[in-house]
Symmetry: D3
Subunit: 249 residues, 6 copies
């Protein structure tokens, strides 16, 4: 039994769906939903690299991300960031980029930049972690298609990466917090892991509060369970092809 307002178990994910080819203009496009949170993740390919890495030896590619909340994704309406980008937005898009690059061999992507745009259509907590999980699928698809049409020689990804939130609310450790829980949690943790169980990033914050070593270990444990289930959802969303299957150990 549980006290969660939506009836979930403490360590249970919200329903996850990952729809590929949601739109057709970019190289790949994914719509990921985790409960009410919906993020459109597109992967656009550019045949050049940022100026600062142009003379790198050996030649490399680049993977980067942008993140935005659409104004209608929240109530009350979120004010569009058109004059300057807020600190929260910058933090999140840097996190998405670093997380994806952690499983990427950039030397296998020579001369290409892949932009992952994570636009949140509906926000109900966990938008940054859903963005990472969805963006990985878009990135994998885009890379696969670059391989298929001969633009690069082999899949530049080593394995999958996914992300999930966990938190402490009162004396309970919860997995995958929607807005209602997130906004009242004492501790908020975001964990980015590979399918093989290695950490890419851990960010744990006592929200104007603190947490103990024991709570930390409990948070990491439920996060690990969540990541394993998200990895399965990622694999299921990708084509049944050895190129993609090989990413899931």
């Amino acid at each position: 039994m549980t006290d969660r307002f939506d009836g979930r178990d403490l360590d249970e994910l919200r329903p996850v769906t990952i729809q590929t080819d949601f739109t057709e203009m970019p190289e790949a496009s994914v719509l990921i939903s985790m409960g009410k949170t919906k993020v459109m993740c597109t992967a656009s390919v550019e045949e050049s690299v940022p100026r600062w890495m142009r003379d790198a030896e050996p030649e490399r590619g680049w993977v980067t991300a942008e993140y935005a909340l659409l104004p209608g994704s929240t109530a009350p309406r979120f004010r569009r960031e058109r004059r300057r980008v807020g600190g929260r937005t910058k933090e999140i898009q840097r996190l998405i980029g670093r997380s994806l690059r952690a499983v990427c061999d950039l030397e296998k992507l020579p001369g290409h930049t892949i932009w992952l745009d994570c636009d949140v259509l509906q926000a109900d907590g966990g938008t940054r972690t859903a963005s990472i999980t969805g963006a990985f699928v878009a990135l994998a698809l885009a890379c696969g298609r670059l391989v298929e049409r001969g633009a690069i020689e082999e899949m530049p990804l080593r394995e999958n990466v996914a992300a999930i939130s966990a938190g402490v609310l009162g004396d309970q450790v919860l997995l995958d917090l929607p807005y209602e829980e997130d906004s009242t949690a004492d501790v908020d943790m975001n964990v980015v892991m590979t399918g093989s169980g290695e950490f890419v990033e851990i960010q744990g914050t006592g929200e104007e509060s603190t947490f103990s070593h024991k709570e930390l270990l409990a948070l990491l444990e439920v996060a690990d369970k969540g990541i394993r289930e998200l990895s399965e959802a990622q694999q299921a969303a990708l084509p049944e092809d050895q190129m993609y299957a090989g990413l899931f150990g």
Copy 2:
């Protein structure tokens, strides 16, 4: 017979779908598709009015719009407008706002601002006209719900408004141009009309070219046909309720 690359008649619209309640955070949310062009139109309600109209007598409300191309909506990727908003974007969102206000009695919306956010998920020509057509449906739904829950007394809209593009390509007058036609047209016209056949806005541009009085009349004629069909699609998307039906004379 026709020369259009997608086989349409000269005066034929692309397939139109208008899906309401695409998301659930804002007061109303519409996903409109015209061919490959897809725009998410959300209506968010704020219980205040802009500073400059606070002391208006009698008390009024306000309806305003924002428009954005998502980066993944086009190939190559559209660079996000985060430091300054481009002239084209500003022109379009001013047009959307004016068009909606033309059928709106703002005194019947006292103390409320309705924000119409038109975020283009996929762009294939005609994004500004699709935005107007879709935003009207979101606005109507939002107003209807405000009436239903007693926040305002009566529907502040007088009738429906919709928009369509037409153009001259070689010696042919075409309705509803996708990107491929739009980018090569000699004349590009956007027409915003009410369901009763009155003009709200006409913008005709010889793209570094000119056009005759006769061509103008032919453009207006196909546009009129398109608007009538779009009005039917708008009505079909709204609930079967006298409050909405009354907008479609």
Copy 3:
């Protein structure tokens, strides 16, 4: 007889004067007055083209415009746009640029950019149309001088272009609206035409209102009359030289 507050006929222009060589630093400089509206239009020549067209084949030139209201041009004072440029300003300067390019053969201006700066010294309605009409004269003079000193081979302009406003106020169709009429008009139309009677641009707006097909035709008719008279004023302001006379069919 007429109801206009300044005693003009419904289809009568305000007094027009076009003074060339108002200043002497730029390639050409024009001060156009239409009633109290006064705009200084300068044409500055730069021996390079924008980056995006540098590799165009065959080599081309570029014509572009900027528009500004000086702070003292209106009462109350207009706040200088120094941090960001407003949507209205951007719309107007894009319109001026497009209108001039519509009569320009850019391949005859290889390697040059001509900047038309339209700075409004005094604003009393119709500033955008006066800017187009005056800027054409400055552009023609600048082009003529480039031809004279051998910088380009032939006049890159095909014919003249001019612009005028028309509007509906109550049940009257009016030509050339000063601020007092413009601010209360139900319909506001700006028409850009060539001397030969072809349209370059039509922008008609029901100001939070709508207008009929019949009103549209009446507006176009008075505008056509105004454009013919403005073309004569443009021709009179330019030197009596075949190079310029040839622009006025």
Copy 4:
């Protein structure tokens, strides 16, 4: 005899004209020419004061200035400052404002702000000093009109203020430098003085060079002569009325 390229004596001003009521929208409008340098100085009155001085006791008014080079005022074209204002522009407009306030008794202007906008139509050296000299006339006229219509009780100006440049070029001390001299001068000095011979501001710069005490005294001497002549031109431009005559001791 003299070596100046325009034949002037070393201590001779360029021809000065001060045209009042050049435009009619603002409270006062002046076009000042010093040789080819032409500046439009408008005085706009606002019936409020800046936030930071609202609670001042006794109640005061404010006088402030903005300065801009129009793009066509120079060749090559001056790039419009639309995203940020350059250091030179800010320096100049702060100087103009301080200079005017030095002769102003702000307590006699309660509740009003007067904006002096100095827009340079043509730039040939000395634009900042011409702006001060012209802006004083616009300010005096605006104040006089406020007194006449009873908005304030008495003239808030104590006396006139004017400004002029002087410089050292080779071993010659020159008055009123046009661009050609200014750009090669070793020392550049701007002097702002009242008609009664008191200094308001002295700015002397060795342009990547230095100057002696003796040169300083010679510069101040020619500047003093120039200021006296400019004061006469200011007085001649204003109406023959005791209210204005009293400013010129």
Copy 5:
């Protein structure tokens, strides 16, 4: 024995000095050095709170932080962030603010905002953690002085907070990384803890790499040792007074 280039043990801090009252304008001012890293932390008190919390019940205060690298703090020179603030800077100053607020009872600071400005005079790795450790001392001093002069009733801080970095380089787990180690580390972790051993924030990043659960535990262990030593240094820097001693359990 150790491989560290500066001869330190793997779990040894760099020399730490905390100088209070480095300057005298702000309420409190601290210069903290950790090896070559030097940060000036000032605490400025403002007698108002941010707009969004003005109506909070019960009345509260606010603690916030800004962080900047001075241009001369690094070689090559760091370009001043004057037009926009970089993502890294925003991340760091948000972290500093959250960390300090985690030990602060804002209801005991009613009506006051304390700004902690962390300006890095010299940067050699660990600037964000040194900023937190130093800013806590400045905050404690400022709060103590507010209590002493009766502006607030009691010390609003519950206990001390400090921060340190740890990292994995090859197969070694290191404490307190200077730039040379930090720039080549495989894993970079910043830990913010209270003196009583509770976590405030954990940020662990595989720098384009990953790390195991076992490595995580080893990183937390050395960090815990470092925090205990920093807490002692903080206590030693503060006056010997029960008000401050009580913060160090």
Copy 6:
């Protein structure tokens, strides 16, 4: 006897200290104190020159300055200039750069830019003049080190430059005004001079007031005395080496 609140004679400087090598990252680093005013002046060397002087013949170098008040340097706190740089800041840093270049032979610094960053740690009046005096020492040291390691052939400085403020308060002429005097002075003058007694820059402002020729001469006299004493302090702070001694005639 004197009325100055700190007991100084009218023509007496505040205590001056110039500490070299305050930090070690940049080429040179100086902490100058004049009374409570403390400015950190760093000289960073870049092996390139600004774009606009790249093609200069003969090849030259560049010397430029930036100035900032740290937020904690004043009470109340100074708001960080992060979105736009204020007019006062721009004026000051332009003055610092010009003053240093006046004694610099840029042709002896080919291919190098030296950035002088003047960050005010504590502000008590005279920050711009202290910045110039301190920055000269940092610049001299940086140039000396470039000569020593063979990056340039000879010292590019001709002599020393220093700066000081003077003012009129009531009927007294004062040297070196701290904030308390500066904020109430009737006339404020900043003088930049070389050690040999030549002027580099004079800026005298009647703060909303005026001053006579006689007052000007008295101000220049005390300033001259101050500059001579500052020159001695500069020389004492530099190494006893002919390369530096030669700068002090």
